[in-house]
Amino acid sequence: MEKMEKKELPGGPVSKRELHIFFIADCSGSMSEDGKIQSLNNAVKNAIPAMQDEAEQNSNATVYVRAIKFSNGAQWHIPQKTNVQDFKWTDLAAEGVTDMGKALDMVSGQLDVSSMPEKMYPPVLILVTDGHPTDDYESALADLMSHPWGEKAVRIGIAIGKDANIDVLEEFIDNSEIPVLRANNPEQLALYIKWSTTAIVQAASAPPSKAKKEGTQGSKGNVDIPTPPSASDVDAEDVW
């Protein structure tokens, strides 16, 4: 008779590849104006059921969420990787300056190859801001891009209102195929947050294999990004 502990399947534990989403949220003082921070809180909370449905239907990935807030410095809002099925959003408050670079440093710290599974899907970084960085974001961004997973990440930039620095978000995205998403009212913000956490997550967790580009060691992004929704899809007046 065979021993009960005998292995049925060769190898260690088989599992789905992980997909990590990082919210990087601007909580500077200007976000308290015209209800921007509360609109962001509502947009994320309203997107959670769709994220969970998407993850439930996605048989290829286990989706985890983390969040960082930045104003005077940067802090973890959701420090531990949290399975999207257990993901809850506590409202953020806004006060202070825009230390975006500090937030990017914290993301870099988590994307080191030694602390991430080698065979995970490219992470999704969602940066939301309404202003201009007040610290040295450039060196922080350069450091982020020096990490293999930072470079391979799908980086989404959402500008809230007309004062957001679009150039900085374009530098962050660093991919001409992905536009900055410009939200000028709460409805557009909700649309972009939902798209970033569902359509993008779906694309990032199903990248078909392909050949590296000729003469390179690999391109920056290898996820086919779906077309983002248009601001005109929302029937609402600009308020920001």
Binding site: P10, G12, K210, A211, K212
Partner: protein, 295 residues
């Protein structure tokens, strides 16, 4: 690297088996298995023994990759046979063969594959519907790129194991894994973690400089040799995202299974093992070839 020594390799026989299953994702999306495998001789008894597996790329630009992977394993067998024949015909020495493995074998395989692909393109020109599908999904620039260089459509990885009485050569282009298990069940691999691919882009036979990107390892089988050699496509390795050791355990477990049940019985179970792994793991096609040494 193979630890405890067995008796000299001259008396060692090898036996190989393999299986390829369609990925769980591919079953649900009704797409083909884009992997291929071939073992020479067909009964898997050696030496000499040649093992080849290939993984055609899944992206739409590589819409003939299931054919490309089949042509790749065919090219691998042909060129590997020519390679080992040099020694059989006393045309060279082991030392010169080692150089040949590094300098010429990858280029010969790559050329042979490109010739086969060119013949296939002439025999079966790409229908416009394929180009339209690429244009719709990837844009007109990508369509033009493939129209100018239709070999891209056949893109595939390739892993080869060549086992003779005197040497074991492992050849790898792109992702997947070649691992060796010694008598004690300890596992080593051709490519170390640091050099493995991050993400889902990979080196490919469709690259114009592909022959420079092969990883070739030549082992003289003098005093020690592996108990088991495994070649697997990345659908297998990516089913163990937690750590490399979880995948390496596949090697030591297969060795144990073979010792308990025999290779013939294990080969009958491979399809079930691989289907369960793709279903619970990567969802990708999985192809495995294993060869065990027998006193």
């Amino acid at each position: 690297m193979f630890g405890k020594q067995k008796q000299g390799p001259i008396s060692i026989k090898w036996k190989a088996a393999g299986e390829s299953v369609r990925g769980a994702k591919h079953v649900s999306s009704n797409t083909l298995n884009q992997d291929a495998l071939r073992i020479w001789p067909e009964d898997g008894a050696g030496p000499p023994l040649i093992l080849a597996v290939a993984d055609g790329h899944g992206e739409i630009s590589h819409f003939r990759s299931n054919i490309g992977s089949q042509l790749a394993v065919d090219a691998a067998i042909e060129e590997s046979l020519s390679f080992i024949k040099q020694l059989e015909d006393n045309k060279t020495t082991i030392r010169e063969l080692m150089k040949d493995a590094q300098n010429n074998l990858p280029r010969n395989i790559w050329r042979n594959w490109r010739d086969k692909v060119s013949e296939h393109i002439i025999a079966s020109p790409t229908p416009q519907t394929e180009y339209i599908a690429v244009e719709m999904e990837k844009g007109i620039e990508k369509k033009r790129e493939i129209a100018l260089n239709p070999i891209i459509a056949y893109g595939t990885t390739l892993l080869i194991g060549i086992i003779t009485r005197e040497f074991l050569v492992s050849v790898q282009l792109g992702d997947g894994a070649i691992i060796f298990v010694n008598e004690e069940g300890e596992v080593d691999s051709l490519e170390k973690t640091s050099s493995r691919e991050i993400g889902d882009e990979t080196n490919s036979l469709c690259q114009s400089d592909a022959w420079r990107r092969f990883n070739v390892n030549f082992m003289v089988l003098k005093d020690s040799f592996p108990a088991l050699v495994l070649l697997a496509t990345d659908g297998y390795t990516k089913s163990y995202p937690g750590s490399e050791q979880d995948f390496f355990a596949v090697g030591s477990d297969y060795l144990e299974f073979i010792r308990e049940r025999g290779l013939e019985e294990v080969s009958k179970q491979l399809e079930g093992f691989l289907n369960q792994t793709t279903s619970q793991g990567s969802g990708d096609d999985i192809t495995l070839v294993l060869a065990c040494s027998q006193n």
